[in-house]
Symmetry: C2
Subunit: 304 residues, 2 copies
């Protein structure tokens, strides 16, 4: 799957993933009004609004970017209807040829991680029928439980040609509380990076492995060090834009060939229509303009 993601990045010349993390406040009122009129001010109404909003965003940007990253928490908060909107979003993005990174940050002990891996990337067998529950292409995974929590995901990656991004150094302000603590002379996130290399070696897909790393744009020096430590791992870089990461911070996340990283922006794209910069545009046009501007910002940073 990583090779397919890289192919998309090259074809579209855009190491960009659009974070589909809808908050109700990002959705134009005409959409919410219509959905609430039809389904009431209910979880169903909210979920319908989210789905319609997402479809508009995807229509607006699918030719510009290789991938989307729906954050499942934003759907889970609307209960069962919300998760149905998540599933329909995954399917719609597939129809548009996009790679879908499920930002699910799951992780548990062995048999339970197997259930999560099957839920999001694989299949389950019911009687003699093979069913595909959520069908994302790549999932984000939490490493705190160690190898036996990751191995079931690796198995699915190898068998079904899927991928994972393992949390390494996250973009949030307090990520350092545990991740930066020094163990035998090196921060915890570097020990996680070492395991990412180990896990990745068992699931290669071309030049890169199916096991990538999540490293926040908000920590550019660490990103540059981790880039060198994990030559075969794609880095998923959240934190660009609204969280404070800028184009000029990103260069170190990439390899010399301009590959090796894919940068996520959520709010900066999907809520662009609410910002001063894109004032007056409808949400689709604003999202498209924000993607184009982000593409130029990154290209200029990589040249510089």
């Amino acid at each position: 799957m990583i090779s397919q993601l890289i192919k998309g990045i090259k074809e579209k010349n855009a190491p960009i993933v659009v974070g589909l993390d809808p908050m109700l406040s990002y959705i134009p009122e005409d959409i919410t009004a219509r959905c609430f009129a039809q389904y009431g001010e209910t979880l169903e109404g909210a979920a319908e609004a989210v789905l319609e909003f997402n479809k508009g965003l995807v229509d607006a940007v699918y030719d510009l970017v290789p991938a989307v990253k729906p954050q499942i928490a934003m759907y889970e908060q609307f209960g069962i209807p919300g998760l149905l909107a998540f599933k329909k979003t995954v399917d719609y993005c597939h129809e548009k040829g996009l790679v879908v990174i499920g930002d699910v940050k799951r992780g548990d002990i062995g048999s339970t991680s197997a259930a999560y891996a099957n839920a999001h990337l694989g299949q389950v067998t019911v009687g003699s029928t093979v069913c595909t529950p959520f069908d994302e292409d790549i999932a984000t995974v939490n490493p705190y439980l160690g190898t036996d929590g990751i191995e079931p995901f690796l198995k699915v990656c190898r068998e079904q040609k899927k991928g994972i991004f393992v949390l390494c150094k996250t973009s949030n302000p307090s990520s350092g509380e545990f991740q930066d603590r020094i163990i035998d002379g090196r921060p915890l996130y570097e020990w996680v990076a070492e395991k990412i290399n180990e896990w990745g070696a068992t699931a290669m897909d071309g030049d890169y492995s199916e096991v990538g790393a999540v490293v926040g744009a908000t920590y550019p020096e660490m990103g540059a060090a981790l880039r060198k430590m994990m030559p075969k791992a794609m880095i998923l870089v959240p934190g660009y834009g609204a969280q404070g990461g800028r184009g000029k911070d990103l260069k170190g996340f990439f390899n010399e060939d301009g590959l090796g990283a894919i940068v996520n922006s959520s709010r900066g794209i999907i809520a662009a229509w609410k910002s001063e910069t894109y004032k007056g545009m409808d949400y689709k046009a604003a999202a498209r303009a924000a993607v184009t501007d982000m593409q130029a910002d990154i290209a200029s940073a990589l040249k510089g």
Copy 2:
């Protein structure tokens, strides 16, 4: 919520939580056959079988135990119908007066953790309506992202009188890979324990705080040390029974008053009917017998 859990433990004299982690292979064939006949060999059929199985288990043991712990991965693997069975299981357990610990191990950056906290423990506002998505009482949470990933859960705990159990030292074989690494002379899990104390101090509920810790029965010495380190935190102890933890390993997890810990068993109870010990019993009678035996095992360990 923690005080309500402790009240239940005292009343039923059972520091026991039943893990509702159904695998299809645990479910008696007459149930799966009936559900597959009605809904097909589909995610719906599997989910219906899980729900019917759960209701039978809950009917069999609700008067013996204070709480249940559905592991959401086991439902997520059956997609939307599976998650609907999860929600219906939560509701059914509430009807029976049980405290529901959602074993969801969620954790993300601030705004996203807020969405998870609202999804599982709190509410979301849609227009002018307040909706309750999953409505568990307590959720398990992953600490890897640090305080700003935990704070939104604390907020909901304080406002809605809910609780969390934070992963500290997990029961699985490779939990030590990161959790046991030494930082300034102490293992990572002790640094997490220190944060659990800090977080818990902001959300007290009687003698204990709404912020408990997950510590595996499979590591009894660490459990005893952590018990002393976190005097105000309830410990949720997985790993008893099928994972290898035994009654005599548990004493150190409890305080002198016999409180302070609640021990989970999943397979050992819900799949008891498939074991040699309870051979010939139906699954409900076997589950009830397994709970009674577990209660005696723990009581004898606490006396010893």
